[in-house]
């Protein structure tokens, strides 16, 4: 497969505008500006490009929700990649920032937006510096600012750095954080397309989604949509990590067999180990065992049908040397730490789950606690303000369900080690003093 997003990715200096242009960059932009913004929008809709940040909602449709009119509209690029296991946006921003910038300019044109932001997570300091430099180069070249390339399109682009919060990857929390408040998600409806940043219509898209836009315009939507499969068009940059020999980012066509991805591209498990299970879509997705998942095609619909999700396309592989309880504890602690605290089920439920899993780990638990853990996950699902609660409930719930026996064995082993035993001791017979019990003067 010819790479699209990863074409020439390691060319030295690709992050500078000259090298980017030498490799065909900033040719989609003039082409788009010659079309009307409605035509560009139609191209995006025809391509059926689905959001690459995790939700998988069609980008063109989302962009078309923005109302027409001369009010202030915004485009925010969600570069707050904090999902465990996801590192695709880092590679794209670090090595080919102009691809993203061009995508933002074209996307803004399609939606009628004239102020845009890139919200990049604070930990990506190097990548944010590179983006800053790229934006300056784009401004100097006249691709940003007033009347771009002589058209009526005006766009300003500000790179905004976050400061370390996973919840700010959720689009409404990101908007709140960008407005200078605590990163708490908002109620939806109203959706950001109507009331977003500063209460104005806002389009929020992931880095990878926007990076695809120049290619869609350059090749034409139909040609681009030939990649991938029905309902999951295009290429996807998949991050594979964990117990594999060759972790990293791979640009694949959606629909590739998962086995080719994990065993082939990522090199499969290490010497002497077998894959026990994997997270198909970052640590927020229900796990799939090797038997369940390796033979499925890697695309949105197949993953959903199997009871999991594609999410951001980040595969974390766990082999049989890792205890399941460790994985569950680690994942739960992450969500408890990152919960924003606004809604009760997530705030208290994540906290509670962590405490229960710690007790399971030290053995101060019983199988009934596993039932309670599962029930708490059910109580969290669907009742929270945003998806972070669900993002914990799904993997933990699936781990407890699919590896129940391993949890129980762990509890038994831990109790044995501490001398607490598993069986209830027989009560010793107590000798009664006389024949009749003394009832007392009632």
């Amino acid at each position: 497969m010819t790479p699209l997003l990863f074409a020439n990715i390691d060319e030295p200096g690709l992050n500078t505008i000259d090298v980017y242009r030498r490799h065909g960059g900033y040719q989609a932009l003039p082409k788009a500006l010659k079309m009307s913004s409605d035509e560009v929008l139609a191209e995006l809709e025809t391509s059926e490009l689905r959001g690459r940040g995790g939700a998988g909602f069609q980008m063109g449709k989302k962009a078309s929700f923005l109302p027409h009119g001369s009010m202030d509209k915004y485009l925010v690029c969600n570069a707050d990649e904090s999902e465990p296991g996801a590192f695709k946006d880092r590679e794209l921003m670090q090595k080919n920032p102009h691809q993203l910038v061009e995508g933002i300019i074209i996307g803004a044109y399609a939606a009628g937006v004239n102020r845009s932001f890139i919200y990049v997570r604070g930990e990506y300091q190097y990548q944010a510096d590179i983006l800053d430099a790229a934006v300056k180069e784009a401004e100097a070249a006249g691709f940003l600012g007033e009347r771009i390339l002589g058209s009526s399109h005006t766009l300003s682009l500000v790179v905004h750095r976050g400061a370390g919060a996973y919840i700010c990857g959720e689009e409404t929390a990101l908007l709140d954080s960008l407005e200078g408040k605590r990163g708490n998600p908002r109620l939806k409806p109203p959706f950001p397309a109507n009331q977003g940043l500063y209460q104005g219509p806002t389009l929020v898209n992931n880095v990878e989604t926007l990076s695809n836009v120049p290619h869609i315009i350059r090749m034409g939507a139909d040609a681009w949509a030939k990649h991938g499969v029905q309902n999951s068009t295009g290429t996807k940059v998949v991050s594979v990590s964990g117990c594999v020999r060759n972790p990293g980012n791979f640009e694949v066509e959606l629909g590739i067999p998962t086995r080719d991805l994990i065993m082939g591209l990522a090199g499969g498990p290490r010497e002497g180990c077998e894959i026990k299970f994997f997270f198909p879509g970052g640590s927020s997705s229900p796990v799939l065992t090797a038997e369940e998942g390796l033979d499925l095609p890697y695309d949105f619909d197949s993953m959903a049908k199997a009871g999991s999700m594609l999410g951001s396309g980040s595969v974390i592989v766990v082999d049989d040397t890792i205890p399941v309880v460790e994985v569950a504890k680690k994942v739960a602690k992450f969500y408890a730490h990152e919960s924003c605290g606004k809604c009760s089920p997530c705030r208290e439920g994540t906290n509670w789950t962590v405490k229960m899993l710690e007790r399971v780990d030290t053995g101060e638990a019983t199988p009934m606690d596993l039932d309670i853990i599962a029930s708490v996950q059910d109580q969290i699902m669907g009742n929270c303000l945003c998806v972070l609660g669900d993002s914990m409930a799904m993997p933990i719930g699936s781990l407890v369900k699919k590896f129940r026996s391993e949890f129980e064995e762990h509890i038994e082993r831990a109790r044995e080690q501490r001398g607490m035993g598993v069986t209830v001791p027989e009560p010793e017979p107590v000798a009664l003093a006389g024949a009749e019990p003394d009832v007392g003067p009632y």
């Binding site: 730490h337 009760s344 089920p345 405490k355 109580q379 929270c384």
Partner: protein, 799 residues
């Protein structure tokens, strides 16, 4: 702007069809169908719903996920289910989650018995909790301010207090720290949460996390009785609900009246009830023996007072202020005018205004109501500081700006707390309000255009101090011209709102406590002297007796020097006082104990014309007698029968005497009062000449020479005797402050916080220097209104 007029729609809830206004949230609309949906974080007074607690989840047909009822507006044809198993499971789950970290403090928690968490757990919870882990712990309880204790373990992080601090009071002092399950409510770096409206979070908090330290462990809800009344500590006259235990007021809570206070109270109103029961309060009649005031019997005090008044005859003057009700003022002016044939009485602090001006300013058409502040297109705050003079209006104005897009302009000499929220800020030198109004009315000021273009509904909030200063009458005529040019009298929703210096200023005026107006603003038998003239006459011996009803000239009246001489010279001074302030303590001959508002029966009139009723909630403390009765007894002893034997009779006399109260009854006033003068009584309003007035250009004040600054005075919300004697509020009693611009201070070698002296011609005021960058150069503001008149040129130097 037009008030929202929702149209009724029909929706189905639990199988029943219900009609509700469109756009109402599901939680409110369900009440029309007698269905209760439990909520914690939903509080419509706090603005947009946040959907944070997830308690109100219900099933709406057509939407797969459960929806929060607090954020879902009802639409025609919506079908809602609140009794399905799915909803019950979700509700039980949320209660279980909320109780996960909530301590079992009910036996020792003040909120027990009136706690929404208890009620909702009982009604919608599962009945058991499976949580056996250690709960999160905090040190508790901690004082987050001297008035409020915070117990962070009980906090269910519903966000209400933080949203209140940020979106209603806009003081941004109370915030959430940390994240997730570690979140807690706190302030910056150990600073206390002290703000004029901080007490409202006690009522907002649905659990016992924020509690009143003054009410701590005092009573359980089943021990107390509640009584409703009106707080008369300031002109805002908020409606309150008094919690009474064993005939003592233990607590004051808000009694939501959308037309007056919108459900909020300021801290003074909330905690100054303590002044009712402290020892410092005067609860028995006193008479002077030498330098001291000694307790005497009622008969003796009344006899002495009557004798003194009879001796002075028509050389008696009266000053009414403080918390005096309409009836008290009315009866006193009857005593003076009809009993003693004296005509020198005043309820205002400054120079007299022509009665035509009073009638014009009282015109019903020109009157704006408090809700108009929320729905106007533009509001102009003119030479008044709402947060000091009528605190609750500050919140109302902010609500209008925040929720309805009201545009605010502030025109004052002193920087105002509303400046950050204002679109236009105009500063003029102290004493320059006359010049400003002259320019504004003639259209020559930069703000004139803004006012014209701002919209049709303009409300002008102005301070009555404008009328009291020199050139005041002219300034007010300019104000009336301005109102006419903006067409304020022609629209509902636009008008003037006068903030009096005295809590019941408007009521006392309408009851006839003015030198040149009788009850109903009709011409009296003869015109008399106003307050400054009374002072001069007393000092010269032309007046001999002074009756002080809730007023102390040395404490709140400008012209301290003149008043000092006046009360020194007066032969008889009879005073009603709850606290012995300086003038009364040193000079009064007979002191009658004043009632607190919780003990009174009577009526007061809100600045916007709403007649409100005070109802007695507790028996009079000590040997206090109703003040209307004291006046009647003094009158009788002086040979004049006022003909009142009950407070209802006093009210009836008042309603009969004032033409535009005709038809009003105490029963009609009920709990929320009536805007009678502007409504049913409007037809009987006195004839008012509203035609454009001739204006004289105001005199130009002399330019400052050699480093002199122009003085302005202000009075803090907390500068009241009730605050001084309430144990909880004492820390708020302000010390004397002098506000300077940083550059002016630097040139005089004055640093922030040092003692300075402000002097003019031998009179001086001392205080602590406070540097504020918002104070314009050339102005200085002192917190004492009595010593030096506003607008005078003064010297400021280190003390």
């Amino acid at each position: 702007m037009p008030r929202p007029e929702p149209k009724p729609i029909t929706f189905t809830i639990d199988g029943r069809e219900v009609t509700a206004p469109e756009g109402d949230m599901l939680v409110d609309a369900a009440k029309y169908g007698d269905v209760e949906i439990p909520v914690f974080c939903y509080e419509p007074k706090l603005g947009q719903p946040v959907g944070a607690c997830r308690m109100c989840l219900v099933e709406v047909e057509g939407i797969p996920k459960l929806q929060t009822g607090c954020s879902t507006p009802v639409k025609d044809g919506m079908v809602v289910h609140t009794q399905t198993e799915r909803v019950h499971d979700a509700q039980k789950a949320v209660v279980e989650f909320l109780l996960v970290n909530h301590p079992l403090d009910c036996p020792v928690c003040d909120k027990g018995g009136e706690c929404p968490l208890q009620d909702i757990t009982f009604g919608w919870g599962a009945g058991t909790s499976r949580f056996i882990e250690p709960k999160r712990h905090f040190r508790k309880p901690l004082e987050i301010s001297p008035l409020i204790a915070i117990d962070r373990e009980r906090c269910i992080l519903c966000y209400r207090c933080v949203r209140y601090s940020q979106e209603v009071a806009e003081d941004y002092q109370l915030v959430l720290h940390d994240r997730g399950a570690h979140s807690f409510v706190g302030t910056f770096d150990g600073h206390p949460y002290v703000a004029p409206f901080s007490g409202n979070i006690i009522e907002l908090c649905p659990v016992g996390a924020l509690t009143s330290t003054a009410y701590r462990f005092r009573a359980r809800p089943w021990d107390v009785e509640t009584a409703g009344s009106v707080c008369t500590l300031c002109a805002a006259q908020c409606n309150v609900s008094l919690t009474v235990r064993d005939d003592k007021v233990s607590r004051v809570m808000a009694r939501d009246n959308h037309e007056v206070d919108d459900g909020w109270l300021c801290d003074k109103g909330r905690f100054a009830y303590q002044a009712i029961h402290v020892d410092e309060r005067v609860t028995e009649p006193l008479m002077r023996e030498g330098d001291d005031l000694r307790p005497v019997s009622w008969d003796r005090a009344i006899a002495a007072a009557a004798a003194g008044l009879r001796r002075a005859g028509r050389h008696t003057a009266a000053l009414v202020g403080g918390e005096a009700t309409n009836e008290e003022g009315f009866l006193l002016q009857r005593l003076l005018r009809e009993g003693l044939e004296a005509h020198d009485l005043d309820s205002r602090l400054g120079a007299q205004l022509p009665v035509e001006l009073h009638r014009a300013l009282n015109a019903p058409a020109l009157q704006a109501a408090v809700p108009d502040l929320e729905f106007a297109h533009a509001v102009l705050v003119l030479e008044t500081e709402p947060i000091d003079d009528a605190a609750i209006l500050d919140l109302r104005i902010r609500k209008g700006i925040r929720r309805r897009g009201v545009r605010l302009a502030v025109a004052s000499s002193r920087p105002s707390a509303l400046d950050p929220a204002a679109e236009q800020v105009v500063r003029f030198p102290p004493g320059g309000v006359g010049q400003f109004l002259y320019e504004l009315a003639s259209g020559g000021h930069a703000l004139s255009g803004w006012l014209r273009d701002a919209g049709e509904d303009v409300v002008i909030v102005w301070g009555e101090r404008i009328g009291g200063s020199p050139g005041g009458a002219n300034a007010l005529r300019a104000l009336l011209n301005l109102a006419a040019s903006l067409g304020l009298g022609e629209r509902e929703g636009a008008g003037l709102l006068a903030i009096p210096a005295v809590a019941n200023g408007r009521g006392l005026r309408e009851a006839g406590v003015l030198p040149n107006a009788g009850p109903g603003l009709v011409a009296p038998a003869a015109d008399g002297r106003g307050a400054p003239e009374i002072a001069a006459a007393l000092a010269q011996g032309e007046l001999r007796a002074l009756y002080l009803l809730g007023a102390d000239p040395l404490v709140s009246y400008p012209g301290r020097g003149a008043w000092s001489r006046a009360i020194d010279r007066a032969s008889t001074i009879v005073a009603h006082a709850g606290v012995l302030t300086q003038g009364i303590r040193e000079h009064a001959d007979v002191v009658f104990p004043a009632e607190a508002y919780a003990e009174k029966n009577g009526t007061v009139v809100h600045p916007d014309g709403r007649v409100q009723r005070l109802r007695q909630a507790i028996a009079q403390v000590g040997r206090v007698r109703p003040e209307w009765q004291v006046i009647a007894d003094v009158a009788r002893a002086a040979g004049f029968d006022l003909g009142v034997h009950t407070s209802a009779m006093a009210s009836k006399q008042l309603f009969d005497a004032v033409p535009f109260y005709g038809g009003l009854t105490l029963e009609a006033l009920a709990g929320h009062g009536l805007r009678w003068p502007a409504g049913d009584g409007a037809a009987k309003a006195p004839e008012a000449d509203l035609a454009p007035f001739e204006l004289e250009p105001p005199a130009t004040p002399p330019a400052p020479t050699g480093g002199a600054l122009r003085l302005g005075a202000f009075r803090s919300l907390w500068a009241a005797p009730e605050v001084r004697i309430s144990p909880s509020l004492q820390f708020l009693h302000p010390d004397s402050r002098v506000e300077l611009a940083p550059e002016d201070a630097r040139r005089r070698g004055i640093d922030d916080g040092v003692a300075v002296e402000v002097a003019q011609n031998g009179t001086s005021v001392r205080g602590r220097a406070t540097l504020r960058h918002a104070v314009p150069m050339g102005s200085v503001f002192v917190s004492d209104e009595t010593a030096i008149p506003t607008g005078t040129l003064v010297e400021v130097r280190r003390a």
